[in-house]
Amino acid sequence: MGESNEDIDQMFSNLLGEMDLLTQSLGVDTLPPPDPKPPRAEFNYSVGFKDLNESLNALEDQDLDALMADLVADISEAEQRTIQAQKESSQNQRPPASLEMPDFSGAGALGYGANVAAVSVSHYENDLPPPPADPMVDLPPPPPPPKPLSQEEEAAQAKADKIKLALEKLKEAKVKKLVVKVHMNDNSTKSLMVDERQLTRDVLDNLFEKTHCDCNVDWCLYEIYTELQIERIFEDHENVVEVLSDWTRDTENKVLFLEKEEKYAVFKNPQNFYLDNKGKKDGKKDGKETNEKMNAKNKESLLEESFCGSSIIVPELEGALYLKEDGKKSWKRRYFLLRASGIYYVPKGKTKTSRDLACFIQFKNVNIYYGIQCKMRYKAPTDYCFVLKHPQIQKESQYIKYLCCDDARTLNQWVMGIRIAKYGKTLFDNYQRAVERAGLASRWTNLGPASAAPPSTGLKAGTTQANGQIPQAVHSVSAVLEEAQRHAETAKDKKPAFGNHDPGAPRAHQLPKSSLPPPPPVRRSSDVCGSPATVPRAKGPRGGFPAPPDDSLPPPPPPPPLEDDELPPPPPDFNDGPPDFVPPPPPSFAGEAGSQLPPPPPPPPAPAPEAPKPPPVGVKRPPAPPKRKENPGPPGGGGSGEQDFMSDLMKALQKKRGNMS
């Protein structure tokens, strides 16, 4: 603890230095009058807790630390972005928009960064006036190129439109955070902070970090609706905050972190989903045998065929299911079919040809859940039920559809089939990423304790629509291309092999039968294309070590010396620090706040992190700096009358500290 206290002080001084810089940079700008209206109410919201205090108290010391680290990271990130933004906006002045700008280029990053700055500032500096409503003005306007008036008139309207667009986008990028209580396998819970931009994948990575589990692909976030008795797996690309904000405040719903082999079952044994029907028709025994026998190569080619083509293939699924009648506890047996466009049923007296089918439901506005104990609750014929409902519906309603299957196998096929139809190729992409992550984790455990995988900023979130449905055409093009590219890469490697086969084959369709395992015609061809199928490639030579770009784990470098103009970008993610990273107290008294509260030991303009180190170097447990105690009390004088999150956080932190010492 003592060590961390020392760290805290150092961090604190660093933080102050950074804050100061930030405010300085703000000071340069023309600050518009503070906007009195919208305090960010949502920030107080936490999921899985009755109220905020509870949630904060529930945060373990460690978590609090992490939380603080998160916040600190935000600041440095924001700072970096702001600076980058400045640079870029000045770049943008040059007439030819340079196309080779780095990744962060473009106003997307710029606006985003500016916004982050605004938000985080508002949270930390209670005593400061709320940030400008419009983050745009954070940008110091570099001298604009002089423009002839005549042009302006003409372009005025266009400009206005564009600015509108820009502001709209910036507003959309408001960053919101939730404290989420996650239930673990062992009945314990963990609280963690989830930021609006984080996808399930990021949260899982975070949890991997905290739990030191084996990181295999089956780990998932799992939501349980206690009241409705339904549950489902979070898809890795879903935005966690978005899903959780559909819950009501007094909800009994829970988020779990556990292993579910159903999550990616289709990618492990695609034959169970894609080839099952045919197996059944031959007689159950026969079908099962062939299914289990399917070798890895065939699985790969089946997956490639189903998910890597120009459009994905939804498993052919049809059969009689029981449908719960609206508002009643009676169940009706109907013949249902799954198509890419939705679930259909065969109306009475009709055949199952496409033209006769009636649409039962389309997937755009519904999520798929497993029903729990429907037999007892709704008198379902079996307990193998699945449920379709709009994610926002939280109470019993006639708009929730219950379907019941004969056995578990059928249930799993339907649920997976519907997920494939709804999410398309994204599901496969998620899986590949999970595999990469799992491979990475196993690699890192050999090298030492993994440090935190930084949450990717969730830039992808933009592609998902309201309900997590992926607009297929739009992004699949690039996805397909990408896939094809990789395909080509591996294929290149395999080329020689193909050459070997080729000249020998005398007449293509009459295959050489000499060798014991005769290369079947297709195999021969698939030597080129099929066999290096994509999935496990991630594990293989290619995916083995190289970390996915955003998973790079640089050791957190010491805060760089701060200079006015040129800031070397801070480490990509500050919260990457060692797990026992101790957060510094929040900088709620930086900058102008200094008038009310004495500044902390390090003077605001901290050029070097080392300099302000408090005297008690040798002492392991320095007393907490005095103002730490003063600070948490008043909830900040600023315009916000409501309970402030940061001060609560501080209080909780304080309490813990107090208990310790």
Partner: protein, 663 residues
Amino acid sequence: MAGMKTATGDYIDSSWELRVFVGEEDPEAESVTLRVTGESHIGGVLLKIVEEIKRKQDWSDHAIWWEQKKQWLLQTHWTLDKYGILADARLFFGPQHRPIILRLPNRRALRLRASFSQPLFQAVAAICRLLSIRHPEELSLLRAPEKKEKKKKDKEPEEELYDLTKVVLAGGVAPALFRGMPAHFSDSAQTEACYHMLSRPQPPPDPALLQRLPRPSSLLDKTQLHSRWLDSSRCLMQQGITAGDMLWLRFKYYSFFDLDPKTDPVRLTQLYEQARWDVLLEETDCTEEEMMVFAALQYHINKLSQSGEVGEPTGTDPGLDDLDAALNNLEVKLEGSAATDVLDNLTTIPELKDYLRIFRPRKLTLKGYRQHWVVFKETTLSYYKSQDEAPGDPIQQLNLKGCEVVPDVNVSGQKFCIKLLVPSPEGMSEVYLRCQDEKQYAHWMAGCRLASKGRTMADSSYPSEVQAILAFLSLQRTGGGGSGGHPQGPDAAAEGLNPYGLVAPRFQRKFKAKQLTPRILEAHQNVAQLSLSEAQLRFIQAWQSLPDFGISYIVVRFKGSRKDEILGIANNRLIRIDLAVGDVVKTWRFSNMRQWNVNWDIRQVAIEFDEHINVAFSCVSASCRIVHEYIGGYIFLSTRERARGEELDEDLFLQLTGGHEAF
């Protein structure tokens, strides 16, 4: 040289006379007679013929066709003996490239020169190169169906025939782009028009035509098309095609490699057209919901191509570019004096406020629509008793994010309703908004739609959304009563579009046009933001995800079976289908296939799969060569890879699909 004579005129060498007709196979054709020996080389014979004809002309494309053997004599270093030619051989000295009329996937006709001497595979590759369609291995030619006796004589108007016979393509080199099209198209206005025809989607067909065109009514009907495929390994001449014949160009193998809107405008468009006709003519069945999506995409594609917005947005992300520009502009603005005003203007999100009539269906209420003051701000709809109470608490507030928006419109009845299904924790609540007129409806409807996606009316797409709705309403007004009788020229404006041209004929019978329009409109809102090529791609993808997509049907008789059955061939599997019921009996996947053999004598195909599963069948509706070629073709296509891009392993293709056939 052959033809040495004594003084008396007797030939002293073993030479003999060879008669060669000049021109295409026409018994009346002029002929030349040459003196040759068995040792004469074909090249020498050719020279002699040209000398004999004594006409100045480019003969380079000419070669000798041996009629009895159905064979071109293309090996100029071979001797007559080696070919086995005797004096009784009927030989024709004619051009290797001859004009044919091609019926393209978009149903337009195009005249061009095709090779009559190369294997069809190469001839198609050359045609595709001319049309700038990549991956010619996916396409092939079919014989045109035989015309039934014409009941209505000269009813059909003379159609426009595009002509590319004069265009010569530099061999080997990929055509360079010039003025946005392959250089060889930019020669004349005619060829340019031809390129537009190739690369832009055609307007929807006349509904009456759609009614008239033959549609398959059963699986058996669907097998007929596949009996007409030409043989890839033999040349056109060998397959009895003569100059000027009509042939269909179609995508034969449903495995489309590397579709790229940037490099493939013609390919994408033609594929879209084939998919569109496939859906419209019910070759591939779809459900009602799917048909509405197809119709909406067609409407959207047609609108874009009519309005000439063919050019794709350049740059990576228009949004980002805009933002860039916006930031620049903002800085400019901030410098100016009116900064705050401007910002105020820009940051306020437009609102809608008006008196609307609202209806909330509830159990046991008979109340109808009641007038309310409604305020629509951001994504939230609030309504009040009257305008005066607006500052206070609303009667109800609905957040439209994630809601379902359904139009309920009848233009002729002046009914403009918006049905909202708003999700809430308790379930969905149903609300109807009734607007007074089209204009009001369009604004509120566009707002609702954006709100359901979580966006506000400040979104840049709002004005265009309003316009789209107005356009669609006017469509309903003009096309509403149409029963499909009006002939529609190719340049009919989008506004006058008849919704019946967008759906398969069975929906023409099922729905009235005014019922159809709102449903298409509803589906359209999900695709309205797509660009032309994105929309085409989306159409193709939706087509590909139909369960019956890409299956070629052939009537076969399985060994040991007493009745005919259907064999379906898809890109990854063979399907045995019951002829009468249409049920799938059994599926075999190509990935489990070990070998297949064709016994040409008894016309039987035998296939061996893993685990000693053997299947044999004889082909009824098409020759077994067509089945063989389909299987081999799909195997070939699965070997493709991007690295080898342009060059096509033709030998492998011919190995996989060729074979002997007893003549």
